[in-house]
Amino acid sequence: MNSDNSSGHISQRFDDELDAVKSQLTEMGGIVEKQVSDAIASLLDADALLAEKVVKKDKSINTLEVSIDEDCALILARRQPAARDLRLVLSIIKTTTDLERIGDEADKMATQAINLAEEGKAPHGYVEIRHIGQHVSKMLSQALDCFVRQDVELALRVAQEDKAVDLEYGTALRAMMTYMIEDPRSITRVMSIMWSLRALERIGDHARNIAEHVIYLVKGDDVRHLGLKKMAEKVHET
């Protein structure tokens, strides 16, 4: 039996409780990932129906967040987990918060997609949405993978990618401002694109947070606010 996952406790029910909450988290991750890709698609295709589906679905993410947190609270109260188990429960609680926020960002993008579908497509900005969207989706899926596999190397890569996304976001913003100056009639629509870009950038931040929770879970080191270089050192420390 590998002690690196949640099993192996003298109390089999404790194993089951931890497994159950991990499964719920994975389920939530799956839904959130789908929400983000649907939100991006609804923007790119001006698909208001898909966007409305995304807005509706956000409720189920909120419900899962509450349910996971409740289960974690019960585990803390009943089992008083220590060491790795404690870090697992803490990082699950924190990850649900990030996933829920990602859900909110997807919801915001879908709302912008609905606006754009009503007002007509924006003249510019779809290349940026597609590009940053792909980048961020990959980060999110890697962040979820590294949680499942407890892979700190992958977690480190996710954190590094976030920096690249921030740069791309800055560039895209400048391009959007140029478009607005060139054609003030498009300001409302370009603003919708800008809000969507902003949402994508935030999703990247949350994916990075999740990666940091994984490093904390596996290595026991809190790497938040450390900077990439120090983070890499902690990851490679034995």
């Binding site: 590998n2 690196d4 996952n5 060491a83 404690l86 407890q150």
Partner: protein
């Protein structure tokens, strides 16, 4: 090792339950190697300092080459599964093991640079300097007052009745029992509740102004409220005394101690700051024990 992109939720769930970690080798490799203590066994100004302590009961060795410092005014908790030697080790610290005929202790145990196993050393004053509180409250079949006054009397710590009264009062106050006992000092100590009896035993221990207090599972016979009071008391006592506590309750160790020492099959496996031991221990066996897995 799972590889490739995980696509579906079910697949993720399955992987989650079987996935090995990629970053956990430092713990896993050490599972069978515990002869070398992990962590810093020495401190700057030790109150007690143990080096290479072995303990035998007849032919059977119970403690293997344990070295450890106990710092002044710290609370150090000793934890480990039953039979790991934590109580045996604690009892070496005031030569309580002398009372067991077949028990033999070797190595060095210093109390303020003084070897407590020195043949010339008188064990009675030693036990006044290093007091002990046991698992089951064991008040003398005497009055509450006499229970506390017993030690100061035999050690001649009080010259007058007034002085003795004062020692009894301070000790009971420090043990948090004064308010409950002050009106019944002449009544038998055995008439108190379990938790009160344990606090009486602590009062009896501190009446002779010890430097170190050893506690051998002091709360395991008490209910949660009485336990909380004893823990509160340990917290207050730490400013004046050095405390070594053996406990079966890991939560208790986590709550009351500054440092924690983990024993396994007679070896000191790991010692470190309690905060680190309970969130991020370095030895696999420590982690298995405190997370409730098999060792």
């Amino acid at each position: 090792m799972p590889s490739g992109k995980i696509t579906s939720v079910t697949e993720q769930t399955n992987q989650l339950q079987t996935a090995p970690s990629t970053g956990e080798t430092k713990l896993a490799n050490r599972a069978n190697d515990y002869s070398q203590t992990v962590g810093n066994i020495r401190v700057d100004s030790p109150k007690m300092s143990m080096s290479n302590v072995d303990v035998f009961y007849g032919d059977k060795q119970a403690i293997f080459d344990v070295s450890l410092d106990i710092a002044k005014n710290e609370v150090i908790a000793m934890i480990g599964p039953s039979g790991c030697g934590k109580s045996t080790f604690l009892r070496c610290l005031n030569r309580m093991n002398d009372t067991i005929d077949i028990c033999r202790v070797s190595g060095k145990i210093l109390l303020e640079h003084e070897d407590i196993y020195d043949a010339k050393l008188d064990v009675v004053p030693l036990r006044a300097r290093v007091g002990i509180v046991f698992q089951k409250p064991n008040p003398f079949p005497k009055s509450i007052y006499d229970n506390v006054a017993y030690g100061p009397r035999i050690h001649g710590l009080a010259t007058s009745k007034v002085e003795l009264d004062e020692i009894v009062e301070t000790s009971l106050k420090r043990a948090g029992l004064w308010n409950e006992a002050k009106d019944r000092l002449d009544q038998p100590g055995t008439g108190l509740s379990g938790g009160q009896q344990q606090r009486l035993c602590i009062a009896r221990t501190i009446a002779v102004s010890p430097e170190v207090i050893l506690m051998d599972e002091p709360c395991s016979a008490l209910d949660p409220i009485a336990t909380a009071r004893i823990e509160e008391l340990i917290d207050e006592l730490r400013s004046n005394y050095t405390i070594a506590i053996v406990t079966h309750s890991m939560q208790q160790a986590a709550r009351v101690s500054n440092r924690t020492a983990y024993f396994h099959l007679g070896y000191l496996v790991e010692v470190g700051k309690t905060n680190d031991i309970f969130t991020n221990p370095n030895h696999k066996l420590t982690e298995d024990y405190i997370t409730g897995r098999f060792g």
